[in-house]
């Protein structure tokens, strides 16, 4: 197994569905962060067979975990401080997300109104369905 050095402060995003790490990298805007990021693809997992892992060396208040819950609430977030895991966080589906995803309905007011937040509301927790607050269009995740 490939070895990646430990973190003194930051996050380890574990149990990412294999192949989705780059999607999460984009969602979290990690390309804009000036910090050390390691992406591990197809790591062996006893629970999942294969999984992806992302290690981010940054201040622990730098990432919006609410948005991460929307992207994939099965991810385990290990919060690292002073070289130790201080919290293992299980994510849940947020009731509402703001400016994490964009409404793709060309008839939605978000397509023309200046500086309007793109807000999605959880309308069906069982089926994990989010709808645009304005036009009620269902959020469709990008195909892998």
């Amino acid at each position: 197994m490939l070895n990646i050095g430990g973190l003194s402060e930051g996050f380890v995003l574990d149990h990412i569905e294999a192949g989705r790490s780059m999607e999460i990298y984009q969602y979290l805007n990690l390309d804009k962060f000036d910090c050390c990021v390691a992406i591990i693809k197809n790591a062996r997992s006893s629970k999942m067979g294969k999984k992806d892992i992302i290690k981010i060396e940054c201040s622990i208040d730098a990432i919006d975990l609410k948005a991460l819950g929307f992207i994939d609430h099965n991810i385990t977030v290990n919060i690292i401080k002073d070289d130790h895991i201080v919290e293992k966080k299980r994510l849940s589906l947020p009731k509402e997300i703001k400016n994490v995803a964009r409404c793709r309905n060309p008839r939605c007011i978000t397509s023309i109104e200046q500086e309007l937040d793109h807000i999605f509301v959880l309308t069906d927790p069982q089926k994990e369905i989010y709808r645009c607050k304005y036009c009620e269009e269902k959020y469709r995740r990008k195909k892998k």
Partner: protein
């Protein structure tokens, strides 16, 4: 302060009170002739509409109030690039209440978030048209005597027809209502309405393609127009616009006390010969639209008439 964005903004009990008020307005119009003296309604119509805008204006005039506004985006500051939020902030300084129609879905909701006056959604794209729904509910209650225990057929453009979407949501709250969706494959009722509203509450419905197959079972037939402005592609519009035409031959299959409704304008989906049939209720529906908008304006402005 309340706004009206969706027919579900009112509880069933609040809706009953609103429809009772509309009944009273129909019976005693003179009682309400000065209820809104000195009040102003702004009609902000970013896309063409004859019926809804005139209905709002007639409603406010019947209450003794005044009206002003615009009837297309080209004649408003939207043409200069002004946002909906800025327009409503400005209008809030001039008017006491406003009715907004906009081609973009959710625009009235954006307005309501920053408005200091009640905002009525007068139609937003293919999304919601709550005052048409209030009109439809008043028409059904007045002509059928109830809003429950009904079989309602909805025919035509069920995919883009916002009046249909709003009516389904509203009638789904009453007991023993069965929906029959009559449409071509391309214009079927959206999945989200079936999943979130009908399946979620175990409300019976069926989808068919031929109007003749279900006509004898219906208490109400709600016809809709295949709307040119909802299509991106002219070819699709031309191919589908004549799919369903209601005529006297088809009306012979219906119950004696069935009613035919239509949000209007019709193009050719109801033959003119049907107008003489006593079951044709679509022009009476227009009149009910004025009464229910009067009741809505009074309710949102919190004007009580003794």
């Amino acid at each position: 302060m309340r706004h009206l964005m969706s027919p579900l903004d009112f509880s069933v009990e609040e809706l009953d009170r609103l429809l009772d008020l509309a009944d009273d307005i129909e019976k005693y119009p003179e009682k309400y002739a000065h209820a809104c003296d000195g009040k102003k309604l702004a009609t902000l119509f970013y896309e063409p509409s004859t019926r809804t805008r005139l209905s709002f204006e007639a409603a406010m005039m019947n209450l003794g109030g005044n009206i002003f506004g615009f009837s297309s985006a080209a004649s408003s500051s939207a043409a200069k690039g002004e946002s909906v939020s800025d327009t409503i902030r400005m209008v809030s300084c001039y008017a006491d209440i406003c009715a907004m129609r906009h081609p973009k879905e959710g625009a009235p909701m954006v307005a309501s978030a920053v408005s200091s006056i009640p905002v009525i959604n007068a139609g937003d794209g293919g999304h919601q048209h709550p005052t048409q729904t209030l009109t439809d509910l008043l028409t059904i209650r007045s002509l059928k005597g109830r809003l429950d225990h009904l079989v309602i057929g909805l025919c035509g453009d069920l995919k883009f027809g916002r009046t249909v979407h709003s009516l389904v949501r509203a009638l789904a709250r009453y007991a023993h209502v069965t929906f029959v969706f009559i449409s071509p494959e391309e214009l079927k009722i959206p999945e989200y309405l079936k999943e979130d509203v009908l399946d979620a509450e175990n409300i019976p419905y069926k989808e068919v393609e031929r109007i003749e197959d279900v006509m004898p079972a219906l208490d109400i037939l709600y016809m809709t127009r295949v709307q040119r402005e909802r299509f991106f592609n002219e070819e699709d519009y031309i191919r589908l616009k004549d799919f369903y035409i209601l005529n006297n031959k088809k009306m012979k299959l219906a119950k004696e006390d069935m009613i035919v409704m239509h949000p209007l304008p019709r193009v050719n989906e109801i033959a003119v010969e049907v107008d003489k049939d006593p079951r044709a209720a679509y022009f009476r529906q227009v009149q009910y639209g004025v009464y229910v908008r009067m009741a809505l304006i009074l309710t949102l402005l919190e004007v009580n008439v003794c």
